[in-house]
Symmetry: C3
Subunit: 326 residues, 3 copies
């Protein structure tokens, strides 16, 4: 509810894209439908559409991530936007005030959109709450909270392979606790009405009361994979783990790494997903990652299309809402 | 005189933009008039004009400054130029010779304009004296010497609010000694013929013989603000101060920080300016910075327009002078 | 033979540009002819052609080189491509596997061309062997192995001054052992059929069995320069030298530095080349570098034209080969 207030304008149209929470099923479907228009752009010889020509997209990265920045930069450039990359050393902006002054300045320079990456949960929401009405904000990952464009590209990939969501059983496997992707995925899957969402992992890597998100919990990988249509592997966020939550990578792979053997428990036409970059031999074997059930690289292509779709949707919804708010 | 030789071509048209010194009143007025054309571009949905299409603007930053680099990068991109950002570790180019070789190389790559930022005073002039005749140079701040585009955006902001310069009383407050902005501002204000320019600050932060620039000196803030139309606050350049020129930030704010109370000494329709980034509670209170008299964020918007104007003016003046000089 | 397999498609057209080795005389001549089309672009007011519009050129730099990156970035932008700069800390990609995963990801993002710089010899070939068939790879310098675009711009510069290659005597002077440029130059010169290629340097800076490349070896500079039409000076790669291969820079200059005196041994219309950046007073005197026989800055301009030519050639050859291979 709180989120809807920020993400949607008064006509219920998408204004910012901060988290899956607060968005209704129809909105997610609209985004998926719109993204179909961009999937062909990547395959064309001239990968360029003029939708954001003359607009300035600013990548505000408070946490370095070449990979994520690259996908947004490519999406914006293929929409013909001007792109400004700003890497901010967080130590220099510890005071909330100076962050706000920086935002005010970028607004005054007529930047149109901020793509925000931050190590702290809630940073993108904070920024969205404080920008001028005509500015658009996209959350490109905030702490362990959300990474909603990643979740949407995953949903897009699932739909392209499976069609309807209603009958699907989807398993999310691994380090749910430290994954911003997992939270966004679970929200998206339940909102889109999949039949069953399972989370599979050791107790130490699952959030407390995770069942309240509407998921079934499994600690045993083969049992959890039984009959699923989609497996979403998570990256073992080694850098995020405090203390010894897992005994060793070798033992983790033994128990929770996806191998051909364990894959056999799922449906024969299961698809295997991973947000990348993959830790081969830690959470997934190379055989599976590169095998016929893997759609990992399709996810990357779809990520550009989804980001192009979201960027142009929220920018296109800008002019009406501006009139009302100013 | 020395400056005019470098900044103007043989027909008296602007060739480089290095310092306000050496430029006549009419030239400054021409720049302000031309900038009016660009003030609307920022507000348009498509913020792009084709004036520098196919030209290469190179940001040569020998001193890091994301903020300044961003404004020039945006201005150049909105003029449709290709932008090249080159950050030079000064230690690697201590020999003047290797700097010259670098310039020669960039010229040979058909770069058209160098936007130069350097910690040493005179660096942009040095570069302008040594480039090929068709290359244009803009000073984006050199040591404590000059920051002329900042001064021009300030003049532009003043004119948009006050109209004529002739009747104005303008106070420049704070660390005049270490401010490249202040010098450029004082030259611009006196050239444009304002009625009175005052500088206000503790003796330790004023240059010796500052009166020779045609300004009135005040050490007491309320007295100096008496009846002024425009207040230009300066950033306390903490990083530039050698030794203990001020007792403490708290005491500085007590004496020279702009508060609502002290603002009352100025004219009721006074405007408050600051080049940014502001040190809240050091040289200015948040109440004033965010208050109705503040035009600080307008300055930022105006900065893009002024830079677009100067870039396209000097580039447009390129072809005639080239024929004469080659 | 091994190289031809990778660099050429099944119709013998250029697919990647990795090394001069493996390319026939006619192919080199075709590149030189095609580059003539781009030499005028740099001098035009609008330095932009739409040949790569909508294509994504990715600079994959595993070794920092602002200078080389700049030339490729400018060439790609003037062809209207979107440019993505990715600097990779080699330590993070020590495992071949994660390099391959990174390539797969960039391919999935529909990048069209990788411009690769790497400290290890063979890196660009490795990448070319592992990319998808529609991806193009250019070697922008790999270890001490090759720097073929540099060699081609040198050939282009020679041809513009000397016309036919057949009658020329060319001397390559200096640190042949550590120079990736020298190897590529020697291959290009012999493939283009110059009358004689000489290498001149101290024994410690010449590769073993260098004669097998078809060159004549001189250890005495004046003797080696006798009657040559072209002198190619090499940069003293101080950072590459292990141990004390030369007694001192002063002594090196004494013996192998090019001065006006030594230049007199060459033909009167000799041209002097250097890949830059030059070490004045180490391998070349300022008198010679800036003198009438020097074409060093022309080389820089020609470098943009050659890179534009190679980029658009290999991209233009993409579509036919794609059909065959997929």
């Amino acid at each position: 509810m709180r989120y809807r207030d920020i993400q949607l304008d008064e006509n219920g149209r998408l204004r910012h894209f901060l988290s899956i929470e607060g968005l209704k099923r129809q909105m997610l479907m609209d985004i998926l439908d719109y993204a179909e228009n961009f999937i062909t752009v990547g395959g064309r010889s001239i990968k360029k559409v003029p939708l954001l020509r003359g607009h300035t997209v600013t990548n505000l990265f408070f946490e370095p991530s070449t990979r994520t920045r690259t996908t947004f930069e490519l999406a914006a450039k293929r929409l013909s936007a001007d792109v400004l990359n700003i890497n901010i050393n967080t130590s220099a902006t510890t005071k909330g005030e100076s962050l706000l002054d920086m935002l005010r300045n970028l607004e005054a320079m007529h930047c149109d959109m901020f793509v925000v990456r931050h190590a702290q949960s809630g940073a993108a929401h904070f920024i969205a709450r404080h920008v001028a009405p005509h500015i658009r904000v996209i959350n490109a990952g905030d702490g362990s909270h959300a990474h909603p464009t990643q979740a949407m590209l995953d949903m897009f990939t699932i739909r392209r392979h499976k069609g309807e969501f209603a009958d699907l059983r989807v398993a999310v496997v691994g380090d749910i606790l430290h994954s911003r992707v997992a939270r966004s995925q679970i929200h998206a899957l339940t909102t889109l009405g999949v039949h069953e969402v399972r989370v599979i992992g050791p107790e130490t890597l699952l959030p407390q009361r995770v069942e309240e998100l509407g998921v079934h919990v499994y600690h045993h990988l083969p049992a959890g994979l039984e009959g699923v249509d989609v497996i979403i592997m998570l990256r073992l966020q080694r850098e995020r783990m405090q203390g010894a939550l897992i005994p060793s990578e070798r033992e983790y792979f033994e128990l929770y790494g996806l191998t051909e053997e364990k894959l056999a428990f799922a449906k024969p036409d299961v698809i295997v997903m991973h947000p990348g970059p993959i830790n081969r031999g830690v959470e997934i074997s190379s055989e599976v990652a590169d095998g016929p059930r893997s759609v990992i690289l399709e996810q990357v292509s779809n990520g550009i299309a989804i980001r192009m779709a979201i960027m142009s949707m929220i920018m296109g919804n800008r002019f009406g809402s501006e009139e009302e708010e100013q």
